[in-house]
């Protein structure tokens, strides 16, 4: 079982997303995260799927995705060098001495405080999933009010497109 990041280019049409999601649930493939948005070409969406599976299953995942009529291209980014980023917005209790502490921690992780009240901070943090996990672990769990994560986006290294 390995972690795979799959990039899917597909027609930006109603129903295309649910075709992909339906394929994963119907065939029992695992989805850890999925993001989708239009690309620089308005008619094309790009989806990043974070999944796990044996080599045989991954071969099927790629083939079955390719088989969908609206799918233009499929690529397993984890097969080569790539960059992965995820955005996390996190709202924490911040009163008294905690305010300084949280700010320091955010700085260490190169996070930014983007909203402030007298009782809370909202922090924006970008990085690999691992880094975001590490930040969450570094916080006292009692401080966390709310977390939202975007799921991974990824792109291959080098000058070529997928």
């Amino acid at each position: 079982m390995h972690r795979h990041i799959i990039s899917v280019l597909l027609e930006n049409e109603a129903g295309a997303l649910s075709r992909v999601a339906g394929l994963f649930s119907a065939r029992g493939y695992n989805i850890e995260a999925m993001t989708v948005a239009p690309t620089h070409e308005a008619s094309v969406s790009r989806m990043t799927i974070l999944t796990q599976g044996s080599e045989e299953i991954m071969e099927q995942v790629l083939k079955q995705l390719n088989k969908l009529v609206e799918v233009i291209r499929v690529n397993d980014l984890s097969e080569g060098p790539h960059i992965e980023r995820e955005l996390m917005l996190i709202k924490v209790h911040a009163v008294g001495s905690d305010r300084e502490e949280v700010k320091r921690l955010a700085d260490i992780f190169r996070g930014r405080i983007i909203d402030v009240t007298d009782r809370s901070y909202t922090i924006e943090l970008t990085g690999t999933g691992e880094k975001l996990d590490a930040f969450l672990h570094a916080l006292d769990p009692g401080m966390v009010i709310e977390v939202v994560r975007s799921g991974a986006s990824a792109i291959s290294r080098g000058a070529k497109s997928i």
Partner: protein, 579 residues
Amino acid sequence: MSAPNQTRERTRSSTETEELTGAEIVVRALRDEGVETVFGYPGGAVLYIYDELDKQDAIQHVLVRHEQAAVHAADAYSRSTGKIGVALVTSGPGATNAVTGIATAYMDSIPLVVITGQVPVALIGNDAFQEVDTVGITRPCTKHNFLVRDVNELAQTIKTAFYLAASGRPGPVLIDIPKDVTAKRCRYEYPEKVQLRSYKPTVKGHSGQLRKALQLIAAAERPLFYTGGGVILSDSADELTQLVRRCDAPITNTLMGLGGYPASDRQFLGMLGMHGTYEANMAVQHCDVLVALGARFDDRVTGNLSHFAPHAKIIHVDVDPASISKNVKVDVPVVGDLRSVLREMNELAEEMGIGGGSLERWWAQIEEWRQRDCLHYTQTDTIIKPQYVVQKLFELTVGNAIVTSDVGQHQMWAAQFYGFDRPRRWINSGGLGTMGFGLPAAMGAQMAEPQSTVVCVTGEGSIQMNIQELSTCRQYKLPIKVACLNNGYLGMVRQWQEFFYEERYASSYMEALPDFVKLAEAYGHIGLRAEKPADVEPVIREALRLKDRMVFMDFLVDRTENVYPMVPAGAALSDMILV
């Protein structure tokens, strides 16, 4: 309401600009696709389309009695002709009733275009009367589907649907059309071709791989061809026969592949799999090269995967890359259209001088397995054996009938005892296993081939799942011959209960059966009954003599006969239960 005025005005302007309504576009597009027959059932959302259908003669509409039957009939129309089948149903329950038919076609890769009505665009999502999310429901059981929200997209969508249905790995494509779209107008221009950047099925096989495959076949001591529905779908039976004869190798067919190679030929070992012949299954387990063509290693074919063809290098040709190495790891994969691939293989085989090898030892082994006579049964003069009925049907129709079947024991006996020498004569629901398929399928085949003898081999369980279609058969004077192997049990369920559930026959006994002879008569057909072996031949002869009438033959057969051989689910192919 000022509707009449508006209509008049619109009609006038339409003749000036040659605009058509959505409904007119549907009918024109079907004609432009060369569609001659549409199977369907009307309802509110498709009334504009029905109105247009009624104004023309080029397309015949066949009114079924249930939407499931419309799709099965269109499906069998396609299976018997190779053309794309077309079904038309209304929104809501019309669409949901069609789902079983669509899923049946999807599992067997049958090219269909199914048109469903939908509530007007403005009402979609409002839980309107007879509204259902048809594209949502059918997404997993269609090759692709469309909801047409704009009349301007209608013609292009229909063109694309027909293209998708038949190209690559074929399958059903659904077009959901809201009622208001069928009333709106736009200019009609039927596109000549379809360009999809996201869909480009591979046709030609990789020549290097084909050479490699042929070298493996030529070097094999115990080669075996294993071919499936892909041979039928790609119309490559002749090309296949040529290659297999040249190699002098044995061949076995899947349930879906029967007729892809002449059953009467010496090299044919019969069907393989759960109810395959002893010789076919043993050959799979002992071959050293297995050539899988247009087959998908279904669990009913392979038995226990880890014991399947343990000594074989496997060559797999399929138009669908996702079918390759899905269940079984393949040594030589080839993606391509089977007809194109087989033509190239025949040319290459000629060029490479393949053929005339010595497979005497392999054939001697196979003949030994054949001696086991695994399909043997004894017909006494008291109880009709179901196998005997199929065998007599085969003899008296000289193997020329189109045979449809439902699902269960009768289906297996039809597959085992009716030898199909030609493709597109054997029509059954192999993948989904849909009871109720047989009679509507016979209607579709008979509509496609009015001159052919069409026999529906069925059971008293299955036939009742679409019995209402006897009425359709009457309306269109379809001279179908129904051969009901009536044992009073859901026979295959009963067989499994006998073998694997310690003879506890939970809900497999059919009480309160109708008198099928009278039932047939009530629908205006002829009913005949055979109660003892001596009745079988006269009943079939009489049914065949009544060329222009539908005849329902009710054969009261041995109630506890089982289908042999049988590979229990999950066992290796060589672990067969034999007679």
